[in-house]
Each structure stands twice: as structure tokens, then as C-alpha cells.
Subunit: 222 residues, 2 copies
């Protein structure tokens, strides 16, 4: 019945417009009573975003399920990917909703409050992981905001392309930018990966023999 | 008259609560008609945030006033400082509003939409500055979100301390974190600053003579 209500609502929103559709119209088309509607959806706005509550719960569960040793920035990026997956499960519906939301200011406001709740979930996780760290809450808030912005930039770009293309790859690329700015993956140990890159930093004024000595040591050649 | 309306509104909001205060109550206390209220404020919510429109306009003007050579991340940080300044101009009012906004969900939603508009202003500026750059819009959106999150983290911490302490220093510190993650100060030209740092990146497998040649070239020694 829940799915039938969503389907009826979207059919009317697209035919008549969101503002011109009442809850009575929706329940009439779905063939159910008003009570049934409000059992599933607190308001007309909620029927536009029927899966966010479940997705928020999934995100919270996912973040709580770690053993606390995961790299934190990567972990919140993975949590953000749950949102993308929800959108990508049903491209046609997601694209329709995107177009609808752009046109209706009330839905934009609703969406902002949903995005805020995702951002808070990520920030709370990071705050806990960064507890005791100097500037832990600052870093948590900034990284959570950056992850959400990157995710949404990629999501919008996919939605604007009418759900064509590889949504996951687009989001991975966007989240990669955030991870490169804030990521704390430990550097690969030099000895075990002989083909990796060596970086030598030197003051310009240092004598050349000193620089060469430094490189020789780093490269492990005497 | 505008200030009198704001003062009357806040006196009533604090005495009776926001929801329990009507526009009629506010105009009665201020001794003006309803029309005067709506000339200044489209809705009751707007009287809670009387300075954001001016601040948004100031921010847009500030961002448009550059000559396009400013370091972009520093520039949006400076733009965000305009918001802080607005709050810091009147600490008592800002703290009262902070407490009110925390209690009233409708005001939280309004505030989210205001924050979103600030973030878009910063992102639009960065998008223009990063035009033609690969991933320019992605970087613009992420950096704008990070700047807003850092600013708001610092602002909230100052508001929670009842407006005690140095708001500017707190915000500077928070924005410094974003600048350290994303700052794009152009590298100093090699020739003109002989004391700067030289970075040489080399594949570990590269022959030593090739690495030394590279360093000699970089250092400008033949």
C-alpha cells in the first residue's frame, strides 16, 4: 500500500503539479482512506522522499557497526555511498523527484533538512572517532560537510544527466577528492614496495652533495 | 521602525515563546500597523533574522569586488568572516536568537535555508574562479561547504559560550583548518626566492644519475 501511495502521488504531481495535488486526490487515486496515507507519511512532503528515513537508519547502523579501527574519512565516505545507492536503485523515480524538487520551494526546504540530518549523522560519528583530538569537533564538522557536498555534487550531476552513466564511479571520484584533502591513510612503508615513488624535500640552499647523500640513503643505495 | 519591530518581537518571543507570539502582538507592542510589519518582513520568521539579507548582499558585493587575482580559498574565508562580524556586532541579540532557534523547529529550517544561500554564494564565486579547471565545480562545492561548516562550528562555539571570548580568533582558527586542507597559494617562483624548498619526486627504480640530473636542473646548477 505504501508503494501504491507513492506511485499515485507521483503520477498526480507530474500531471497536475505538486501544489495542485491534495492528499485527498492521492488517496482517491490509490483507492485507500486518508488514515492509511498518514499512517505511512506524516505530510504530503514526506511522500516525495519515501526512503530517506530508512536510509538514515541504515547509515546510522552502518556507522555504529564498525569496530572503531576503520580509517574514519573512508568510513564516512562509505556511509555516504548508501545514499547514492538508494537513488541509483530507481533512476527514473530519482530523476522525476529531482525535477519536482527543483520546482517547489517547500520541497527544497524539506530536502535541505534531510541533507542536514545525513550530515549530522556523519559528523557525530567523526566527533566520536576524533574524541580527545585537538580540534576534533571542528575537523568532524568540516569533513562531514565536505563529504556531503562532494556526494551531492556527483549525485546532482548524475540526476541532471537523466540517470545515465555510472553513478557509483561519479561519486567515487568526488569522494576521492575529499579523501585526498583529509584522508589519513598511512603512507605505504618504503622498504616493502620497491617500485613506489620517492619524494625528497630539500632547501634550495643545501649543498648538492648533501642532497645526493639524502637521496642515496632514501633509495637504500650506499 | 524596523529596529523597534525587531526589539518588540524579541521581547515577546523571550517572554511568551515564539509560537505563542503573533504578528498582531508584535505590532501592538511596537505601536505600528500590520502593514508596516510586512513592509519590512515577509513573515514572522524573517524578523528573527533581520540582518541576513543585508549580509548576503554584502557578501555578494565583496566577492564581486575582487580583481580575480586573489587566492580563491582565502577570499571565500574572508567572505565568511562578514557573517561572523554581523553576529559579533550584537552579542546579546545573537545569543538570544541562538537559544530561540534551537527550540523552534521552524526557525531551524529557516536558518538552514539561509546557510544554504551563503554556501551557494561562496560556491558560485569559486565555480567562476575554477572555471576551466578539471573538477572545478566539485572543488568549488566542497570548499564552500567546508568553509561554511568551519565558520558555523566556530560561531556556535562562541554562541554557546554566551558570546564571551574572541569570536574572530575562534573563526580564524577554524578557517585556518580549511585553508590548510585546500589552500592553493601559488608556489613561489623558483628563481626569485633562492631560499625556498625544492621537491623532487622520482620513481624508486630510476637510475641515480637520472635523479641527480633532475635535481641539478631544478636547482639551476649545471
Amino acid at each position: 500500500m505504501r508503494d501504491a501511495l507513492v506511485a499515485a502521488a507521483f503520477r498526480l504531481f507530474l500531471e497536475r503539479g505538486y501544489e495542485q495535488t491534495t492528499v485527498d486526490d492521492i488517496v482517491a487515486l490509490a483507492g485507500v482512506g486518508r488514515r492509511s496515507f498518514f499512517r505511512y507519511f506524516p505530510s504530503k512532503e514526506d511522500v516525495v522522499f519515501p526512503d530517506h528515513e530508512r536510509c538514515l537508519a541504515d547509515m546510522t547502523d552502518f556507522l555504529a557497526s564498525g569496530d572503531g579501527t576503520e580509517e574514519p574519512v573512508g568510513r564516512v565516505c562509505d556511509a555516504a555511498r548508501l545514499v547514492l545507492r538508494m537513488y541509483a536503485e530507481n533512476p527514473t523515480f530519482s530523476v522525476q523527484r529531482y525535477r519536482l524538487t527543483k520546482k517547489v520551494p517547500g520541497l527544497r526546504a524539506y530536502e535541505l533538512s534531510v541533507v542536514w540530518r545525513y550530515e549530522r549523522a556523519l559528523a557525530e560519528y567523526l566527533r566520536a572517532r576524533f574524541a580527545g583530538r585537538r580540534d576534533g569537533t571542528l575537523q568532524a564538522d568540516v569533513i562531514a560537510a565536505a563529504v556531503v557536498a562532494a556526494h551531492n555534487n556527483a549525485l546532482r550531476s548524475w540526476l541532471r544527466s537523466d540517470g545515465q552513466g555510472d553513478a557509483s564511479a561519479t561519486v567515487d571520484h568526488a569522494l576521492g577528492y575529499v579523501q585526498s584533502a583529509f584522508g589519513t591513510a598511512p603512507p605505504a612503508p618504503l622498504v616493502e614496495q620497491p617500485e613506489d615513488v620517492v619524494v625528497v624535500v630539500s632547501r634550495r640552499g643545501a649543498p648538492l652533495w648533501r642532497v645526493v647523500q639524502e637521496i642515496e640513503t632514501t633509495l637504500g643505495r650506499d
